[in-house]
């Protein structure tokens, strides 16, 4: 069954979506979209470095993504103007990454594969990495669900009930780093944040509790992956962007339906 590249692609998309949905909800709730952009843009630097050093792309991207995530988390605690700082980090690491890649002679590198993903080329090993990473994200989010939600509401709530919100914030940042590294192959660094935010935002219209929003986001993301892949196959369009287009369509339709409902009510 796994011999079919479409099946492997579908499984990769579903695996990513299941983890990106719940994690993406926190990105939406905590307004961390730009934060996610920064980590994902930095990942291209990781890709460039691992091509240069001839190590695994996943490992390189993971290390750089986690490092940047950790740095940004640290700096934000020191009270730096975080928006500007993120802008500097995001674009300079993207630029440096692109420059580093241009120095790599010999092999011609198809950068598009890293910027927009190459889901149709997912190997069995990639699948193991994607599902392993996705399960790790899901387990950690599930395990720390209440503290994460409490920190999202108000950090002083966390302090008053005797635990340190900094740990939870660090966990969220590192999970973002992990999901970025996992998602490079599926949708590429430029569209990772879309997979975090769009399904979550689409799920918001249907949900009355944070739990249902997280689950729905996972389902909408997975449906987008499956439908998007099919559309890409039929229409001969790039797979990663097609998946994001379908997710955006979900967002649009659900919002229109939602506002009609609230008119009636």
């Amino acid at each position: 069954m796994l011999d079919d590249f479409m099946i492997r692609a579908g499984l990769a998309g579903i695996g990513l979506a299941f983890a990106a949905g719940p994690l993406g909800c926190f990105v939406v709730w905590r307004r961390m979209a730009y934060f996610g952009e920064t980590i994902s843009h930095a990942a291209i630097l990781g890709v460039a470095l691992s091509l240069m050093l001839q190590v695994s792309i996943f490992a390189g991207a993971l290390v750089v993504a986690l490092l940047v995530a950790w740095t940004v988390n640290l700096l934000s605690e020191r009270g730096y103007a975080i928006d500007t700082l993120l802008g500097v980090l995001a674009h300079s690491s993207l630029a440096v990454g692109l420059v580093v890649v241009s120095f790599l002679s010999g092999i011609r590198i198809d950068l598009m594969a890293y910027l927009f993903g190459d889901i149709l080329a997912v190997s069995r090993l990639d699948l193991v990495i994607i599902w392993g990473g996705a399960l790790l994200v899901l387990i950690l989010v599930f395990w720390r669900w209440s503290p994460l939600l409490t920190v999202t509401l108000n950090e002083d709530f966390s302090y008053a009930s005797g635990f340190n919100p900094k740990r939870e914030k660090l966990l969220l940042t590192l999970l973002l780093g992990l999901i970025v590294a996992v998602a490079i192959k599926v949708v590429g660094v430029l569209l990772i944040v879309a997979m975090l935010i769009i399904p979550a935002a689409a799920a918001r219209t249907l949900a009355r509790t944070p739990e249902t929003m997280a689950i729905l986001a996972g389902i909408i993301g997975a449906a987008s992956a499956v439908v998007g892949l099919r559309a890409a196959f039929v229409l001969d369009t790039p797979a990663g962007p097609s998946i994001v287009c379908i997710a955006a369509a979900f967002f649009l339709v659900l919002n229109i339906v939602g506002s009609f409902k609230s008119f009636q009510a």
């Binding site: 307004r31 209440s146 509401l153 108000n154 709530f157 302090y159 008053a160």
Partner: protein
């Protein structure tokens, strides 16, 4: 040798000694001493930027201490009501869900806590759709649900009108009566402070004066800080007792 056992009052809930808090080059608090005993209501008053919130945040461990110590009774249960919660409307959450995040004792205790503050009917409503008064009551219910030994309130009535905040402070008083918890609150509502507190601490970077409401009210330091404001508060108070409340209501009901 019974003196070794303490001073007879029992263990203090909170003991702050020689506390200083510094942000960058700005000294928010310097050499503050404070003790809260079980069951008493202590109010901190002071102008904007006088370090009131810093004091509360230092007590819960949310801000680093530049000097001094904050000693909490071991395993103390704190009920915390923040100044204002910017509830992000992208986060769907019912009042029930919000309460259960603080305490998973099930429906019954959630209902009881909400009943105590008079908002049990809104249990299934979305947090982002509550009115200001309802929201603050839910915050109070959340703080009370774990039967805290002390309530910490950081200007919990900000944004409420005068009758609204008076009703809120009555609920706090009731909670103290029913559970015997201590209360440490920051307040701008001077007239409320004076009537409902056992002790008042007047803060302006340091402790200006402290004692029973009568003592503080007649202290020259207090008058210097609040003389003007007291008059203004009274003026506002009278102004707000216009009958525009009824007019609004008849507009709302078609």
């Amino acid at each position: 040798m019974s003196l070794l056992c303490g001073n007879g009052v029992g263990v203090s809930l909170i003991e702050v000694k020689n506390l200083s808090v510094i942000y960058g080059s700005r000294i928010a608090l310097s050499k503050v001493d404070l003790k809260i005993e079980p069951g008493e209501i202590v109010t901190v008053v002071g102008p904007n930027g006088s370090g009131k919130t810093s004091l509360l945040r230092a007590i819960i461990g949310a801000t680093p201490l530049a000097a001094g110590v904050v000693k909490l009774k071991p395993d103390i249960k704190i009920g915390y009501v923040p100044q204002r919660l910017n509830f992000n409307s992208s986060l769907p959450m019912t009042v029930k869900g919000f309460m259960e995040l603080a305490h998973n004792g099930g429906n019954k205790s959630t209902l009881m806590a909400l009943e105590e503050v008079g908002v049990s009917s809104i249990m299934s409503q979305q947090m982002s759709q509550l009115s200001g008064g309802q929201f603050q009551r839910v915050l109070l219910a959340r703080a009370l649900i774990n039967t805290p030994e002390i309530l910490l309130l950081d200007e919990a009535t900000q944004g409420l009108d005068q009758p609204g905040s008076a009703a809120f402070y009555r609920l706090v008083e009731d909670a103290r009566q029913n559970t015997g918890c201590a209360v440490l609150m920051i307040s701008h509502d001077l007239h409320v402070v004076m009537s409902a507190s056992d002790r008042v601490i007047c803060l302006n970077g340091h402790v200006c004066c402290a004692g029973t409401p009568e003592v503080v009210a007649s202290a020259p330091e207090y008058k210097q800080l609040f003389g003007m404001e007291t008059e203004r508060t009274l003026a506002l108070y009278q102004h707000r007792h216009d009958h525009d409340h009824d007019i609004k209501k008849s507009h709302a009901d078609p």
